[in-house]
């Protein structure tokens, strides 16, 4: 058993109670630790007993039975980001929109090639501290595992002011240039924007571009000659290439996945 596998198991063992599927995650991790000699039969059985009861905290039962509680895992920024990437990937897998499968493939390939490397984590814009908690609260019910992963990875995301958004919007790249997962073919990350603000963007070249708002409703206008429409959370937005796209953020902050593929990466003739 490698140190990395044990560290991974300790992380999974600490998956917060209440998240869907967390009971089995904890039990699977407990099995790893048991097989490595780091957990007793009795403690393993506690985790098995609660494997299908996501809401129950095994620590409570371990203490009641006077069994050893595993120490909390140390901070691991790369693992936090990898877990967030998994949750974002699952979110993307459920999206039915042009560009979603392209982005998912690019993100998966990058994640398979490397763990997150050294990346720049600048001082986040003030917007992040002001708006991210409300955004996470807004997605906590529908996307609890993503909200938890985002909260864990919050300190490792390289939030930067969004070029077109002034102080009202920020972007945290995950895939692309100067991102945890370097990639020349695609760009993928999170967008955060303040309630009541107006955001614009313009897609200059004919590439797959996709926005998946995790919060809502917000008003979206995918091209200047199209009407502004109120769209709920998780309804994908596909801006029209070469036209101005505008978003009128509603009463909750906008938190969204945003991704684009470069033309050479998506043209059937352009792939090698």
């Amino acid at each position: 058993m490698t140190e990395a596998a044990l560290a991974r198991a300790r992380r999974l063992l600490a998956t917060p109670p209440g998240l869907p599927g967390s009971g089995r995650l904890r039990y699977g991790a407990a099995m790893t630790l048991h097989e490595a000699g780091a957990m007793s039969f009795a403690a393993l059985e506690v985790y098995r007993t609660l494997a299908m009861l996501d809401a129950e905290n095994p620590v409570t039962l371990l203490k009641a039975r006077r069994l050893r509680v595993q120490p909390a895992p140390p901070d691991d920024p790369a693992a936090d980001l990898a877990d967030l990437a998994t949750e974002l990937d699952l979110c993307l897998a459920a999206v039915v929109a042009p560009g979603a499968a392209e982005l998912r493939r690019a993100f998966a390939n990058a994640r398979l090639q490397t763990r997150p490397g050294q990346w720049r984590v600048p001082e986040p814009p003030a917007l992040v501290a002001a708006q991210l908690p409300a955004a996470l609260a807004a997605i906590g019910h529908a996307l609890p595992t993503l909200a938890a992963a985002l909260a864990s990875a919050e300190d490792w995301l390289g939030w930067v002011p969004r070029a077109e958004g002034g102080e009202d919007a920020a972007f945290a790249p995950l895939l692309g240039h100067d991102a945890p997962w370097p990639c020349d073919l695609a760009e993928f990350g999170l967008v955060l924007a303040a309630p009541g603000s107006v955001q614009t963007c313009r897609i200059m070249d004919d590439v797959a571009y996709l926005i998946v708002p995790l919060t809502g409703p917000h008003g979206w206008q995918t091209a200047s000659d199209r009407p502004m429409r109120l769209r709920p959370a998780l309804a994908p937005i596909t801006p029209v290439a070469g036209r101005n796209c505008m978003a009128r953020i509603g009463s909750v902050p906008l938190l969204a996945l945003s991704g684009r593929m470069r033309a050479a990466a998506v043209s059937p003739a352009g792939r090698s």
């Binding site: 995650l25 699977g28 099995m31 097989e35 998966a108």
Partner: protein, 401 residues
């Protein structure tokens, strides 16, 4: 590069025009032989690598009592296993597809498996005495990825590797860049039909009925449609569209809107192609999409017809519209074919049925039936053996060949 068109041959016109005897379409004993000697021993197409891009993604495949799962491991490698806990045989993963975050946990007693199929540990391990974990990994299933498509085989059989078996198709698959396909928005379709699987395949294996039964296909490519046969039991059907003005709404708009795919070689640029996979599947391409469809036998009189649809990366609105129209044409064709399959299958139990008398344009049926007869010689008997002697008769006939 050799094109499949260059090595294919047309149907001969001096041949035995009979089809399989009617009893082979409803005999439970023969169905059991088909299970063991045909379906479990021949490659089954189950998906495409794009269906499971991320570690932990999995795809299920079930047929005739076998439960398979293809899993992308933490290392990115695809592996196939029986979806069957080594403790008591419980199903580990439920559904057609999904994602496993870290491990497969058996819902029965709690054995835990890694994504590579190895056993992480048994529940209550102290209750098993000396226990060699390495002997209780999930049982692997033979798997091969060919031009992006994933094939499984539950038992060794006569087809060799997929790459060897389908080598004549390889240049076309490379030309289509099938490895780069992506799943369509609703990639999976399936419906159950109360017929023997061969009745479905019989309809799909010939183009003689197209002019009569499929107005849209006839309008699209009827004049150019042809079935071609390749040594080794492979067959290709091809029709070229846009050779004359179309009359039907879907076809007219499809032909008008389908963008020229300049990256495809000339012979595929305006073609709909169908690559037969003996015994029960087809990979089909249009310039803007691909799909595979197959008959999964459930019982002698029940067949699950299913398929998966794929698209090109980075398609624009016009290409997406063309793909929708192609799907619309296919959807009508499928409904029309299902009715024909039911009527054909019904006839097999009628005293008035004297068997098929096939046209040269139906040589695909004969070719498929010949493949079945070679594997299961009992199918050559016009009069059925008693049900309890079908297997023994077949074994005797195999021994005397």
């Amino acid at each position: 590069m050799t094109r499949v068109l260059d090595i294919a041959r047309p149907a001969p016109n001096t041949w035995d025009r009979r089809g399989l005897p009617a009893w082979t379409y409803h005999s439970p004993a023969l169905f059991e032989l088909e299970r063991t000697d045909l379906f479990l021993t021949h490659w089954q197409i189950v998906g495409h690598v794009c269906d499971l891009p991320s570690p932990g993604d999995w795809l299920g495949y079930e047929m005739l009592g076998e439960r398979g799962v293809v899993m992308r491991g933490a290392d990115g490698t695809l592996r196939a296993f029986h979806n069957l806990c080594r403790h008591r045989g419980s199903r580990l993963l439920e559904g057609e597809a999904g994602h496993c975050r870290s491990a497969m946990v058996c819902p029965f007693h709690g054995w835990v498996y890694n994504l590579d199929g190895s056993l992480r540990g048994a529940a209550r391990p102290e209750s098993f005495g000396a226990f060699d974990r390495s002997k209780f990994g999930l049982k692997p299933i033979e798997m091969e990825v060919w031009h992006g498509f994933i094939f499984l085989r539950f038992a060794p059989g006569p087809q060799g590797s997929v790459a060897e078996w389908l080598a004549p198709y390889a240049p076309d698959m490379a030309a289509y860049r099938s490895e780069d396909l992506l799943p369509a928005e609703t990639p999976i379709w399936a419906s159950d039909l109360e017929v023997n699987w061969k009745s479905v395949r019989d309809v799909d294996n010939e183009g003689y009925h197209v002019a009569m039964a499929h107005p849209a296909l006839q309008d699209l490519y009827g004049e150019t449609y042809r079935d071609l046969f390749i040594e080794g039991g492979l067959n290709l059907s091809i029709g070229e569209f846009g050779t004359r003005p179309a009359r039907r709404w879907s076809v007219r708009h499809y032909v008008g809107i389908a963008p020229e795919q300049g990256w495809l070689p000339d012979h595929l640029r305006r073609a709909w192609t169908y690559y037969g996979l003996f015994p029960n599947a087809v990979i089909a391409f249009t310039p803007e999409m691909a799909q595979f469809y197959q008959e999964i036998p459930v019982a002698p009189g029940l067949t699950r017809i299913s398929g998966r649809i794929y698209r090109r990366a980075g398609e624009d609105r016009r290409m997406r519209a063309a793909r929708y129209l192609a799907y619309r044409i296919d959807r009508d064709t499928a409904v029309e074919d299902q009715k024909l399959s039911i009527w054909s299958n019904e006839s097999m139990k009628s005293s008035g049925f004297d068997g098929f008398h096939l046209s040269d344009l139906e040589y695909g049926l004969r070719s498929h039936h010949d493949g079945l007869r070679t594997l299961l010689p009992v199918m050559t008997l016009e009069t059925p053996p008693p049900e309890d002697q079908v297997a023994a008769t077949n074994a005797r006939m195999q021994g005397t060949r």
